[in-house]
């Protein structure tokens, strides 16, 4: 045997399987990865800095653009942290709408993940089916919030506006259809020998390594760790809904796929219960110093007009303090660490992006594996470069 030489392969930033602009520098010995160095930052636009220069309520628009596949969850995490600073209570209807939107968004995000992940591994048709259902969910968002990708619908104090007519009925009709559709994806993939060959035992990561790397979300649960913030630290009244935490065993790509499939099913269960028990009442807190007054009152009531003017032009002050709130986003633990100094703008807004920490564990997952498995591994951790780079 002569001396072997390693080959350095540059993968990305423009590579279809890197889900955005991620660059990996791989050192290969034959087809085995001996070193993997991810390079990020191509989408860095200083969003945290921008948030420090926006009034609290308007900083929500920036959160939309971080994890642009689950904008509602980003809105929600920011609002929960800001409400912690304000000690603001949200009415039950607003909480229920937040859960409704959050679970729809989780399903939409998982659908996009499933479609692109399947394309990466070579199953083209799943992609089209998944986008068909995601389209239906984005239509609900369009109807409710007026935007599909960047709704900025969840606001500090509640939500931007009440649910429009009939959208609840439409979602209720969508749930049984979607349940059948999940079974269809299941039939396409679960027993598919190519799919199983490409995923079972690939890029495994055990529970201890996941925790060491602060990996959260479906990747952590696929390794068998019972950590779902909706269960362990419920927010928005998740404790009143009956659902199960999806758990895997082996922590490989296949288990991550199974966990996300099960999460979509559980999301449907939650949606059903939310719709069943949707409380009446206000959709935002009754605090005119924070929540925008309804438009019809702005046109008829002097006081409401003044509040509207002040809130839009200047915003509201938030008492000094620091607060951290985290939610279970589709990718994992999404946390906001907000610092207020008593002014109308955040002094510091730190996002704890789940994808950042999940991606950090990629070299650990792929070193020693085949180069083709790198693509499967990237797909299975479900990264969004928008929130990694911010």
């Amino acid at each position: 045997m002569g001396a072997t030489e390693t080959l350095t392969l540059n993968m990305g930033p423009q590579h279809p399987s890197t889900h955005g602009v991620l660059r990996l520098v791989l050192d290969l010995d034959g087809e085995t990865v001996v070193r993997c160095v991810p390079h990020i930052g191509y989408l860095h636009t200083g969003m945290e800095k921008s948030m420090e220069n926006e009034p609290w309520q308007q900083a929500i628009t920036i959160t939309d653009r971080m994890d642009y596949l689950s904008a509602m969850n980003n809105n929600l995490a920011f609002c929960l942290a800001a409400e912690k600073l304000l000690d603001l209570k949200v009415p039950p209807r607003a909480d229920a709408i937040r859960v409704l939107m959050g679970e729809l968004q989780r399903t939409a995000s998982h659908l996009l993940w499933l479609g692109t992940h399947a394309v990466d591994i070579g199953a083209m048709s799943v992609f089209f089916y998944c986008f068909r259902e995601r389209e239906a969910i984005l239509n609900f968002f369009e109807e409710t919030a007026g935007a599909r990708m960047t709704p900025s619908y969840i606001r500090i104090g509640g939500v931007a506006m009440d649910l429009p007519n009939e959208v609840e009925e439409k979602i209720a009709r969508f749930i049984p259809i979607f349940r059948d559709r999940i079974d269809e994806y299941w039939a396409l993939l679960d027993e598919n020998p190519i799919w199983r060959d490409r995923t079972i035992g690939v890029a495994p990561m055990n529970a201890e390594d996941c925790i060491r790397h602060a990996v959260t979300g479906p990747v952590l649960r696929a390794a068998g760790v019972q950590y779902d913030i909706r269960k362990v630290n419920p927010y928005c009244g998740y404790e009143q809904y009956d659902f199960e935490m999806a758990i895997g065993e082996n922590g490989d790509v296949f288990d991550r796929y199974r966990v996300r499939m099960e999460e979509m099913r559980q999301s449907m269960r939650i949606l059903e219960q939310v719709l069943e028990r949707m409380p009446d009442g206000e959709y935002a807190a009754d605090d005119p110093k924070i929540v925008l007054p309804p438009k019809e009152r702005v046109f008829s009531d002097m006081e409401a007009l003044i509040h509207h003017f002040i809130l839009v032009t200047r915003g509201f002050p938030v008492p000094p303090g620091e607060a951290y709130a985290s939610i279970e986003s589709p990718k994992g633990e999404l946390g906001y660490y907000l610092v207020a100094d008593g002014s109308e703008k955040p002094y510091r807004a730190r996002v704890r992006p789940p994808s950042f920490y999940n991606l950090q564990s990629l070299p650990h997952m792929v070193t020693g594996n085949m180069v083709a498995d790198v693509v499967a591994a990237i797909g299975s951790i479900d990264i969004v470069l928008g929130e990694i780079d911010r």
């Binding site: 350095t8 540059n10 520098v25 160095v37 990020i40 930052g41 860095h44 200083g46 945290e48 800095k49 921008s50 220069n53 912690k84 390594d209 925790i211 060491r212 790397h213 602060a214 959260t216 760790v225 950590y227 362990v232 630290n233 303090g321 620091e322 607060a323 951290y324 985290s326 633990e333 946390g335 660490y337 610092v339 002094y347 510091r348 730190r350 704890r352 950042f356 920490y357 950090q360 564990s361 650990h364 780079d389 911010r390």
Partner: protein, 183 residues
Amino acid sequence: MADEAQTTAPAASPPAVSPIKSELDRIRAAHAGAITDVEEQPSRGMFWIAVRPQSIVSVARLLRDDPALDYKMLTDLTCVDRPETEKRFNVTYNFYSLSRNRRLFLRVRAAEGEPVPSLAGVFASADWAEREVYDLFGVVFEGHPDLRRIELPDDWDGHPLRKDYPIVGKRPVILYNNVKEII
């Protein structure tokens, strides 16, 4: 324990025993003098312990390895810049214990140019997080295995998340104009 009572935020019914008493007792027993101050907001579930920079590694290791504390996850690591204070960089560590469902924040205050010991050898998650704080704030982490910029290009000038860094750029951005090698 006297200084702890002073820093506790006044609440309607202050708890007789601090919820993080076991943490404080164990840190004090193992590393006397490590803690500089404590802040508690039990109603929000927020607890901060400020420690001296030279103690952060041993305190973090204690939090992780002591079975009674069991903070196995360093969820996040970030920094808050307060340029008006002498030690302007508040490096904030966000620890989480899965078994006890408890969150704890450690804080290290460092002046400009003052190095902070790296936690990358204790928690793998600190690696990129410290690189990000180095990149955006310019805090140097001593003992970090690979302290490079992570978000910005390697030849970037300044640290944008510092409060004295302007929001409007000083020069047009030309990225990767002088690339000699890929690593």
